[in-house]
């Protein structure tokens, strides 16, 4: 009898909060967009699914052992934790929200010793990390996940078109203005003092990186500067990457004349294997000399690319592009999903993030296009400004958009290969931007 009661009081129906319900609905929408609308399904499907798991009442899949211990509020457990975390509390005391809050704050601010003590208490009372929490610690906490994805992306990237026309790299640089412009925007929004809509400089930077239009870079930066925003940041980044074909064309058309959009570019020279092999090493050395903080991200990217281009370790590059990146993608998605908890996501900040993220994409697109026009002022063999928008990266979607808009204006004008240059340059550009941000704001 009392067993059946336990089943009921332990059930999701009995315990579900409005927030959890809302988040589950939101995650179902993510799944719908991923499956039906094919919005970056490789990431949004596991993210959405992980989000549902994270919001299952009582399961605590996204909580750490200590958080799970706090959740069940057993007096003796709280007393032990109070001692470990140095929170004023004795066994008899009623557990008000203030008390719980003080525990959570103490846990967040705990130093390594207090933390270890609290974890020992939780373990001794039989509480463990939730499944998703373990995934998060291994895959994102250690940063290995985004780094391996980046290695795989490197192994899939062809720098040929960029090497054939190096000056298009500048377009990839200009488009990064979307990142830093958005930081400014976030600061401005904060200064307007809408309550609930304020950001620290770390949060602002993290939001800006959405403009990098590059999933692993966004996750990498968020995990270091503002882990509590990671869920919203990743969802925004991948959603907008999927929306590139909707966001970019109007901006591209608005900023260019029909004549400019018709510009035909000279056929690209073919790039030899030797150049392709040397390039990633050049990038690596440059990173080593100028920005060590970007070394992990760009280092793994260059390793992947070198494995591919060298042609002597095909079995490794093959694995990096398939088995390995797929395995990591599954866990990365679930780990990101574990950050989609109601208290973090159902928040005015999230609206701000979605709004600013969109702005970041738009600004990046615009500055890319404008840079192309600027370069045309000075050089005689003209660039079609439509390829400037590809500088935001979002490989290869943005390049395809450039190509499509080009064809709309001139059916003979195939810009795809030309757009791939700024497209891949944009990846390097935002990784460099990430390095700068981490250098100044991390730790």
């Amino acid at each position: 009898m009392e067993n059946i009661l336990n089943l009921w009081t332990g059930s999701g129906l009995y315990n579900i909060t409005g927030g959890q319900f809302a988040m589950i609905v939101i995650c179902l929408c993510l799944l719908y967009m991923a499956i039906k609308k094919k919005f970056e399904p490789l990431l949004l499907l596991p993210i959405g699914f992980g989000g549902i798991l994270a919001n299952i009442p009582e399961a605590g899949l996204a909580l750490s052992a200590v958080e799970n211990a706090l959740h069940f509020q057993k007096p003796e457990v709280l007393a032990a934790l109070a001692e470990a975390l140095k929170v004023p509390f004795e066994a008899g005391q009623v557990v008000t929200d203030e008390v719980l809050y003080s525990f959570k704050e103490a846990y967040k601010g705990a130093d390594s010793n207090a933390l270890a003590a609290a974890q020992n208490v939780a373990a001794d009372y039989g509480y463990a990390n939730g499944m998703l929490k373990n995934f998060y610690n291994v895959v994102i906490g250690s940063m290995i996940g985004p780094l391996l994805i980046f290695m795989g992306v490197g192994a899939m990237t062809d720098f040929g078109p960029m090497l054939a026309n190096p000056k298009t790299i500048m377009l990839g640089a200009a488009a990064q203005f979307g990142i830093f412009g958005t930081v400014l925007g976030a600061a401005f929004l904060t200064s307007m003092g809408i309550d609930g809509m304020s950001f620290t400089i770390e949060e602002a930077a993290t939001i800006g990186i959405i403009g990098g239009a590059d999933g692993p870079t966004s996750i990498f930066v968020a995990s270091q500067l503002a882990p509590h925003l990671l869920g919203a940041i990743a969802v925004a980044a991948y959603s907008y990457m999927a929306l590139v074909p909707v966001i970019q064309p109007p901006i591209m058309n608005a900023l260019t004349t029909a004549a400019e959009r018709k510009i035909q570019m000279v056929q690209l020279r073919t790039v030899g294997q030797t150049e392709k092999i040397i390039f990633p090493i050049v990038v690596l050395v440059l990173v080593a000399l100028l920005l060590p903080d970007a070394a992990p991200l760009l280092g793994m990217f260059c390793l992947g690319n070198l494995m591919k281009e060298s042609g002597v370790v095909d079995r490794l590059s093959d694995t990096a592009q398939n088995a390995l990146i797929n395995i990591v993608t599954i866990f990365l998605g679930l780990s990101v999903g574990s950050k989609l908890s109601a208290d973090k996501f159902l928040d005015l900040q999230t609206l701000g993030i979605l709004f600013l993220g969109m702005a970041a994409f738009a600004v990046g697109t615009a500055t890319g296009v404008l840079m192309a026009k600027l370069m045309n002022v000075f050089s005689e063999n003209k660039i079609n400004p439509l390829i400037g928008s590809a500088g935001v990266s979002a490989v290869p979607m943005a390049a395809r958009v450039s190509n499509k808009v080009g064809l709309d204006n001139n059916p003979q004008n195939f810009l795809l290969m030309h757009a791939m240059g700024p497209n891949v340059a944009g990846v390097i550009g935002s990784a460099v931007a990430a390095g700068v941000m981490i250098k100044f704001l991390a730790g």
């Binding site: 000056k167 990064q176 400014l184 600061a187 401005f188 440059l286 920005l291 079995r315 093959d318």
Partner: protein, 81 residues
């Protein structure tokens, strides 16, 4: 102006500045590299092709053989009819 604001501007200036410096240098290095390569070591195109083929590793070469022979067998049997 709020400290946040100034921090943000600061970050923007330094950040964008550095991104440009980095990529401008990259443009130069790349161009030089390409020139030197095309001058001193003309690229052995065939290699590229070879690697492409090598891509399917040992086990799938075996597969390829299996499939080919199967295909031929298939063809022969059809001939008979």
């Amino acid at each position: 102006m709020s400290e946040l604001m100034s921090d943000a501007i600061n970050l923007m200036v330094v950040g964008m500045g550095f991104v440009f410096v980095f990529l401008v240098i990259l443009v130069f290095l790349t161009s030089i590299m390409s020139k030197m390569v095309s001058k001193y070591l003309p690229a052995p195109e065939p290699v590229v092709a070879k690697t492409k083929v090598k891509k399917n590793n040992a086990s799938s070469d075996a597969q390829l053989l299996a499939v080919l022979s199967a295909a031929v067998a298939e063809y022969r049997s059809d001939q008979k009819k």
